[in-house]
């Protein structure tokens, strides 16, 4: 049986804009972020950027509706080939940013 495709994350492309978190109909996504000041040569003032600290998708409640992929302005979320997502304990169905980015493969 072909495994179900998964929603994968490219953490470097995520700007912590919260769109996916807010649009998810089943409240399956949560993220933590903080702001940092970045000084750039030639700029008069430092720029404030959001830095992603944590990103989680709860595959125990995700409906794979792909609304998060649709709303992501930077394509940080995308469909990827399926992996075995089964788990022996409920908590292991919550995939963090490390696991979500490990989904990335060259088979897309």
């Amino acid at each position: 049986m072909t495994p179900h495709h998964v929603i994968a994350l490219i953490p470097d492309a995520c700007t912590s804009c919260m769109l996916c978190v807010r649009e998810c109909p089943s409240w399956s996504i949560s993220l933590d972020s903080h702001t940092e000041q970045v000084s750039e040569p030639g700029a008069r003032r430092p720029r404030t950027i959001n830095v992603l600290d944590g990103f989680r998708i709860d595959y125990g409640t995700c409906m794979y509706c792909s609304i998060c992929i649709e709303v992501c302005p930077f394509d940080a979320l995308h469909w990827d080939v399926g992996i075995d997502q089964s788990a022996t304990v409920r908590a292991d169905l919550v995939h963090d940013e490390t696991r979500l980015s490990e989904h990335r493969t060259d088979q897309r």
């Binding site: 804009c17 919260m18 978190v21 807010r22 996504i29 972020s33």
Partner: protein, 150 residues
Amino acid sequence: MLVIAVEHMRWLDSMREAAADRYLCLDYLTAVDRIDRIDVIARVLNPMNGAGVEYCTSVGDGSLSSITSVFPAASWHERETAEMFGVKFVGMVDPRALLLRTPIGAPPLLRSTVLATRATAAWPGTAEPGGSPGRRRLLPPGVPEGWPAT
């Protein structure tokens, strides 16, 4: 797919006419909560050529004629629609609940039904980008104002 809107009083007659026109197979029957009304939708198929027609009606006083006398397979769908949307099907052959082991007190797929988990769980979208607590009071999409969700 052709969609035919019919008066709820003509629901059963419409199904009889569909069957007489060789639309002999019921594909599905379900309901949609349009907030100001409940629509019931049934799709029937002609098994000879695969053609399908969708019938749609607005439920008037919450009840609608059962179509199991025309399509016995509608029984399963009517049980589900009655349980999930609170539509009463007059003349249902099997009025037993289909999916919920114990009733939750309100039809769970009506938009007006508050889902217990939503009311008690914290919505993850309240924080602003950057992690600061939101200055605006945000509601999850699709949640009516005044919900106890946040």
